[in-house]
Structures are given as C-alpha cells and as structure tokens.
Assembly symmetry: C3
Homo-oligomer: 246 residues x 3
C-alpha cells in the first residue's frame, strides 16, 4: 500500500481551514484519482465534504486506502510553511505514519485508527432557491448579524438574496438584488434559520471574492459550495436549520 504526493502548501492549508472548525480528527479517503474527506461535527449540525482531484497535486501516486489524520498535528507543521512551498506526503506503512516534508523539515506523524471513524452519508436535499455570490458578501452579512443575535435567516426570493437577523431591539439585513448576484434561480421565496456560530466557522476559509453557491429551502438545511485549488478541488458544506420557536 503506497501513497506518495506533492502539493502546494496553500492547498493543504485550505483543507485544514475547512475541516478543523468541525472535527479534530478526519479520515482521508485516498484514491487513484485524488483524495476526499467527509466530516460531521459532534453535534451533527454541520457536514463538510471536500474533494481534491489528483490534478490539484504536483505529483500524485496512490493505492486506495484510508488515512486517519489528527488535524492539529498536520497544522503544526503546515503553519511553518510559506506560500509557494511544496509539501511532500508519504505513507510509511511499516510505522503507520504519514511523513510530511516541507523543505528540509520533516514531521513523521502518527496516523489514527480509522476503524471507529464515521462514514457520513450526504443527504439528498430538495433546495429550490439557489444563488451564486461573492464570498465577501455572505461574510459581511454574518459578521453584521452576530452583534445582535445568535441566529439569522438566509432568504432566496425570485429577485434577491437576503440575510436577515433580528435582535431584541435591532434588525440587520443584507439584501443583494438579482443584478448584484452572479446568478439567481428561484421560483418563489425560500427561508431557513441558521446558527451564526456555525456560519462563522463556515466563512473562515472563504477568501475575498471567490464565487460561492448557496442553496436554500424552507426550514431545510442550506448547502454551500465553492471551488478550491484553482477548480481542481471542491468543498460542499451542509448546515442544519434551527427551528423557529414562534
């Protein structure tokens, strides 16, 4: 069983940023055509699914296998890498370790037994409201809402996308009409409520103006998707709704 790959440091850091808010350990599914992971947070509120095609790597050679990764350990060495560094990953079957090399620096990282690790299924969702917008917009809406409430509504209508939060005295509203969105597809009004803490975790890895896709239904989960690694990788984030108490 072998796994030998080289990848740009910033792509591996994105994998860490996407996964670490939800879980401390993750199972990497290594395949012939790339790697993938799927993780659910302990409270079962959010799921992240990440794919990295082998084209996202500088070099890639792998048998099919699972690697149990402690994300803090991987992050400890990745924090010492710089943009432009190439990171080498090698499976050491004998010692059950992943050997991570950045330049002259090596970390031989113990792997975690994947036997007990979950294999979450991606639920099938019917989410009829869909928008594509710049990441910075949703970031601004979440940040503005967190000062007045612990939850907010994502709303897609036939002519706009809205973030809406209501506190004891104040209201925050981000309204993006159709012409300030990259794309909008909706035959009506769809609205669900979400935890701002979870949305804050979700927006952490989002950089500047990358386009992200948000799908919304009525009192249903939201599905947020964006490309990584120059479109040679993809992230799907699912977040369960909060049920309106009124």
């Amino acid at each position: 069983m072998s796994f030998n790959a080289k990848i740009k440091a910033e792509i591996l850091k994105t994998l860490i940023e996407v996964t670490s808010p939800l879980v401390s350990e993750v199972k990497l599914n290594i395949g012939k055509d790339g790697i993938s992971l799927r993780a659910v947070d302990p409270a079962h509120v959010a799921m992240v699914d990440l794919q990295l095609n082998k084209e996202a790597f500088e070099e890639y050679q792998a048998d099919e296998m699972e690697l149990g990764i402690d994300i803090d350990r991987l992050n400890a060495i990745m924090r010492l890498s710089s943009t432009g560094d190439i990171v080498s990953l090698e499976y050491d079957e004998k010692n059950n370790r992943l050997i991570v090399k950045v330049g002259n620096l090596t970390r031989k990282m113990a792997l975690i037994d994947t036997a007990g690790m979950p294999d979450p299924k991606m639920p099938t969702l019917d989410l009829p409201g869909k928008v594509i917008l710049k990441a910075s917009e949703i970031t601004k809406g979440v940040k503005a809402s967190e000062s007045i409430s612990d939850h907010l509504a994502l709303i897609v209508t036939d002519d706009a996308f809205e973030v809406f939060a209501e506190g004891d005295t104040d209201i925050v509203n981000l309204k993006l009409p159709k012409d300030s969105l990259v794309e909008l597809e909706s035959d009506g009004k769809y609205k669900s409520l979400f935890s701002i803490d979870y949305l804050n975790n979700m927006i952490k890895p989002l950089k500047g103006d990358i386009p992200i896709t948000i799908k919304v239904g009525n009192d249903n989960p939201t599905r947020v998707e964006f490309d990584i690694a120059e479109s040679k990788g993809h992230v799907i984030y699912l977040l369960a709704p909060r049920i309106e108490s009124e």
Copy 2:
C-alpha cells in the same frame, strides 16, 4: 421630523473613536446646518464636544431633533465598512430607529430616549498658555509617561511645550522648543497635572501628524482641539486637572 444623510465611513468612525472612550450612549443634536454632540464621562473628569458641519456630509437634509445613540451598536456595523464607503443614515420616526446602510447592508438601530440624557455646559476657562503641535508628539509624551506614573504635567512656557512625569525613581520629559512647534503663545509658565488614563483615551483618535491645539493654565483643565473631516468638523476635549498632592 426627518433626517436623511450620507457621510464617508471614516468620518463616522472618527465620531465613534472620539466619543466611545467617555460614554456608551450619546445624544446627537441634529440641526439644519449639521450635527453636534457633547458628552461627559461618568466621573465628570473629561468632556468632549464634536461638531460636524453639513458640508462634511455627502448629502444632508434634516429637521431639528435629538437622536439618542448606543455607540456600541453603531460601531458594530461601522466596523464592517471600508475606507471610501458611503454610509447612509435615515431617521425612521414611526419605529424610533436610525436606519444605517453601508452598501447592501442595513442595520435598523433602536434609538435611546434622550429625555434623561445630560446636556453639559461648556465651562468658560481662562487658559493663557497655548501651543499648536503635531498629534504624534503628544502621543509619544503620554506613552512614555505611562510606564512610570499615572499622571503627568502639561507645561507651556514662553519658549517651549513640555510633558513631564515623575515616578518613584525615573523621570520622563518631552520638551518641544518653540521652533519645533507649529505655534506657541504664552506670556509665562503654565502647568497643570492630568490623569494619564484619560489622556490615553484622548489621544486614541489622533492620527499621525494632524495639528492639535493645547491650552494650559495653572492647576486648571486643559483644552485640546483639532479639526476632523477635512476641517468641516471640529473636536474640543476638556480634561479636569489632578490636584498636586504635595
């Protein structure tokens, strides 16, 4: 009763920086020619008076009225604005709210009842020592003093401005001779002691090399003034003296 205005984000942020160290709530006096505020800290040691002419605004239309503002709430949305953003302010009389818009983001902010809010009078002061200097100079003098004492003296003589602090063992002294000042007017030596904590609050909104005017008497308050909003606004800061214990 209507109030509708547009203003550069950085000017509104200056208003927050000047006011927030002293009070958490402030009454804005809205007039036909601009807005003003006057606030005194709970210990009655410092007073700030701020004027913004209607020329400081991009658009301005107002009846005379008072708006009670919670500064933290205003700051929460202003923190999400960028330099160059234009902020729209609109009084919603029906709901007693101020509607603050930055781009596509809206905060409908509950107003505070101004009935109980103080209307401090600006005391008439005879402060015969006057200097104009770069803001960065007074900032340096206060920062150097805070490591040895909790109070310092501001001193104006006929040929220099000085900041003087004395600790148990050490002395800090900033001496600016007349030729390194923008202006000096004094017929003798004037000296008063002030709390460094309060001075630290006062210097927070001071940026780089803007000229500030400082007036000093003997054991009297100091009056510090500077322009904001490209001279279309003005701040006066009064600070009561500490009485020398010797």
Copy 3:
C-alpha cells in the same frame, strides 16, 4: 566619570531582545573601546555575552565604569523609538541615572547598584562539531519541535546538521545537508539535548537570513554566535544540555 554615546535605536533594541529573555537587570561594562555585558538566567541554564564596539555607535566617549540597567525601563522608552532614530545615552553621575534621549523625549532612568550583580565567567568548552547556517533554518526547526516535545537534539555529523525531536507518537526532524549550510566542520557525530523553552528565547532576536554559528559536542552545552550592528558587535549564547533520561 563620564559616558556619552549616540547609537541607532535598532542596535539598542537588539541588546534588549538578546538580554531580556534571561534577566530583568543587567550590568553594562563600559570601556574605552565599547560596551559589553554578560548575563546568566536565574536557573543557570543559559548565558549570553554581548559586545558592542565603539564603532557600532554614532558617537562614543567613555571612562571605564559599570552601569546597572533595569531592562524593562530601558525598553519602555525604546519601544517609542522608530527605525532610524538616534538614541543618546548619558551618565548623570550626580543623580546616578542614565539619561536616555530619543528625539525630544527624555527618560532619566535610575541605575541599579551593581555591587551584588554577578560577573559570570565564560566556561572553556571543547565543542568539535561546528556549523554556520541561516538563522531562519534553526528557527523553523525549533518551532516545528515545540509542538511535540519540550526538548530537542542538535546533531552535527560530518555531512549534515540536524534538529531532532521525538514526542509520544511523532518525530520532527530538520536535516540540512552540507551543501545547504554555509559551513560545516566536524570529524564525526556530535549530539546534545536542549530545552525548547530556552531555544525559543534564543531565537527571538534572530532576524531572517543572518548567518549564525552553532557548536555542538556530546552531552555538552551548545554555543551559538552571531554578529549584530553590521559586524561591529557580537553575541555569544551558551545553553547547558539536558541529560537524556534513558
């Protein structure tokens, strides 16, 4: 007894950065040709020796004397200086103070009685493994190790320099082969263990790519040296080994 000198702010800051992790008070030995200091931390694990030739100063005039410096006090005024500022130092014999001036700012700093202050001797050490490398390399090795252990090994062989740390599950290794070092001199393998806390203090003042010399023996202290002040000054850092418990 007189001491009058002018020096670039950044050189005086380096003196503070080198010394402050080990001691809070230090004796400066003032001589006709420059100043020096030698300090040992309270646990007697690390020693620092610093020399500044009079050529490192803009102006220098001194009788031989000792000055007891409280490093926090010196740092308080130096923090307000900028790169390029010239700092003036003057001994005030009458008041037993050091008068430190940065621009218009003066701190008259009480001196500490040097009578009780130690005069540590530099031990003679036979350390046959010697390498010269870029400061950033050792910094990276120490930072990578601190996530898995509280100590690491420095190893010099006849063809490489290595940093090696072993935790409960993981191994960190920085290996610099001869051709990626500035210089290597060793007739065999030399290895000693050191505390990562102390190494972290040692690397703090190291900037970017300056060359540093590291000497290693077997279970012996390490000696780390580097130039400061454009080679008109020099720092020697000695660190006692930790004894391997196996």
